[in-house]
């Protein structure tokens, strides 16, 4: 070993010292890996102070230790689909970082090691918005990726993820958000300012028409939040005034299945608030809402004081618990049920363990960790 070193005469320091057993042995630098099957929490950070340099922080769901970072460009929208380990980002890059020509792409990242895999150019009209999860979503068969546009005229870009190309730009005027159907992969619904839902069927040639539902909500008196959650074949929304709307988007037009008045008759004028104020455990049909008291017109982005558990089957509030000032939350769907909440004041991700199915509702505070500079979306997979 000594002679090997001396052969490299310029390594003057090493030449004078062989390694003994009790010394730290020389190390090589490579990459850490993420164990297969790790449940990952994705904290989507808008990074508004440096808005061109958004990120996703991937955290181990158990201890919230950082596993790695994915860059998401300028106001990139992030989707963590079920059925693939990939992560999809629709974003914009400027040719001179903060100035110059804008170019938009769908970027595919590996969920196994967070590496960049591929990019697909798309038209430059996507909504550069806060990270509302409903602005980017896959079709139920993963063939299409739908991306909400705003110029401010609204439309939806359709990307064929097998052909790796944009195939359509479908107007959804006066409407916003993408809520795909489950049984018909070419179908998605969208919420509209007149209180209807539009339903769009993407055809092979990229053409499509939007069919309006009967009025489902009132955007003046009880506006639906954008951040809805899928529950089986339905989508579950909550509203400014404190209702839950369960909507079936499977048919030619969307239908209201259930409307649950969550805070009616409860003292304190409690209302949902934040950017992603509702999540649902798929197996139990339990919805969790970020709630604040003394709600008024304009308080709909106030952080939560409590998290309420609502049984979507019995349509009853089954529990309330104190919360960090949450502005977004997601429920894990795995065997260790937990809620992951963004603390809007500390920009932290907080883990709350949930009771097993059948147990009384309670939140057990767990670990907390930085979610970036300004996280506004949280996902877990």
């Amino acid at each position: 070993m000594r002679s090997a070193l001396l052969g490299l005469s310029f390594i003057s320091l090493l030449a004078s010292a062989a390694f003994a057993q009790d010394e730290i042995q020389p190390e090589t630098v490579g990459n850490l890996t993420i164990p297969r099957g790790t449940e990952i929490v994705f904290s989507v950070d808008l990074a508004l102070n440096h808005v061109v340099d958004g990120r996703v922080y991937a955290l181990n769901s158990k201890d919230l230790k950082l596993l790695g970072i994915i860059g998401t460009g300028s106001l990139g929208m992030v989707h963590v689909p079920q059925g693939t380990s990939d992560i999809y980002v629709a974003t914009s890059h400027l040719s001179r970082t903060t100035r110059g020509t804008r170019s938009d792409f769908v970027e595919i990242y590996s969920g196994e090691d967070l590496t960049f895999k591929e990019e697909i150019p798309i038209s430059n009209n996507r909504a550069q918005a806060l990270n509302y999860r409903s602005l980017i979503w896959t079709s139920s068969d993963l063939k299409y990726l739908f991306i909400q546009n705003a110029t401010p005229a609204t439309s939806v870009t359709v990307v064929d993820m097998l052909a790796k190309t944009q195939v359509a730009d479908i107007p959804n005027p006066g409407c916003y958000g993408i809520f795909p159907a489950s049984k018909t992969p070419t179908r998605f619904a969208t919420t509209c300012g007149d209180g209807t839902f539009g339903t769009i069927n993407v055809t092979a040639d990229g053409s499509a028409e939007m069919r309006a539902s009967e009025p489902i909500f009132d955007a003046d008196k009880d506006a639906l939040f954008s951040g809805a959650y899928r529950w089986g074949e339905n989508w579950v929304f909550t509203s400014y005034a404190g209702n839950i709307y369960v909507v079936d988007v499977e048919g030619e037009t969307a239908k209201l299945v259930d409307k649950i008045a969550v805070s009616e008759g409860v003292e304190g004028n409690w209302r949902p608030g934040g950017y992603q104020p509702i999540t649902v455990r798929n197996d139990t049909g339990m919805a969790y809402l970020l709630m604040h008291s003394n709600g008024t017109e304009g308080s709909h982005k106030n952080p939560a004081e409590e998290i309420w558990a609502v049984d979507l089957k019995t349509k009853k509030v089954v529990g309330r618990a104190a919360s960090v000032p949450g502005i977004a939350l997601s429920a894990s769907q795995g065997d260790a049920p937990a809620l992951f909440v963004i603390d809007g004041l500390k920009a932290e991700i907080v883990r709350y363990d949930l009771p097993a199915a059948g147990q009384a509702f309670a939140l057990t505070p767990g670990v907390a960790a930085s979610g970036g500079a300004l996280p506004d979306q949280v996902e877990v997979r």
């Binding site: 508004l48 808005v51 705003a150 919420t191 955007a219 709909h300 502005i327 809007g344």
Partner: protein, 179 residues
């Protein structure tokens, strides 16, 4: 007012919701705005950390506040960096930032005369995001299906230099909250 309306250049979304929707529009270096349906409209850039609601959920009429504070009356539906902290003023962009071509509008009550004014929130564009005085008030703000009153989107979207820098709040007329 005639001067303003003379220069008005409507950018119509091509769709009527609750009546008509109009985007504020700016031509050349002079500004004019637009509105949407009934009542005022909102929507600009976004923030999040300014979640301290010690002053209540909305920013109504706090007479003693100055225009570098989130609770200043004109900012009742402003979500973004105050240009007053970024080299601009309450209604002027910093020297090197382009005025957004489209805007959203809010209706805020001025505590000095108790009148409600229609406020145009222009984003200032094409320069690194300012990062100072992040504010977030949402009186009559609605999601993107009411785009003209939506403030969680980059309103530099119609500018060639599309990077978000900061937001101004200009009076464009008397308003009515519609109740």
């Amino acid at each position: 007012m005639a001067r303003i309306t003379d220069r008005l250049f409507g950018l119509i979304d091509g769709y009527a919701e609750n009546g008509a929707r109009y985007m504020a529009q700016r031509t050349g270096r002079r500004s004019v705005l637009s509105l949407i349906g009934k009542a005022a409209i909102g929507g600009a850039l976004l923030p999040i950390l300014p979640f301290d609601r010690a002053g209540g959920g909305t920013a109504r009429a706090q007479a003693e506040k100055t225009d570098v504070e989130c609770e200043y009356w004109r900012y009742c539906a402003l979500d973004g960096f105050l240009c007053t902290c970024c080299g601009g003023s309450v209604n002027q962009c910093p020297p090197n930032a382009a005025v957004s071509k489209v805007t959203w509008v809010g209706t805020c009550q001025n505590p000095a005369d108790s009148k409600e004014y229609l406020i145009s929130y222009n984003d200032c564009c094409g320069v690194s995001s300012c990062g100072r005085c992040l504010c977030n008030f949402n009186l009559r703000e609605r999601p993107g299906y009411r785009m003209g009153v939506h403030n969680d989107i980059n309103w530099c979207m119609a500018n060639e230099a599309s990077n978000y820098h900061c937001t101004v709040a200009a009076v464009v007329g008397l308003g009515s909250s519609g109740g």
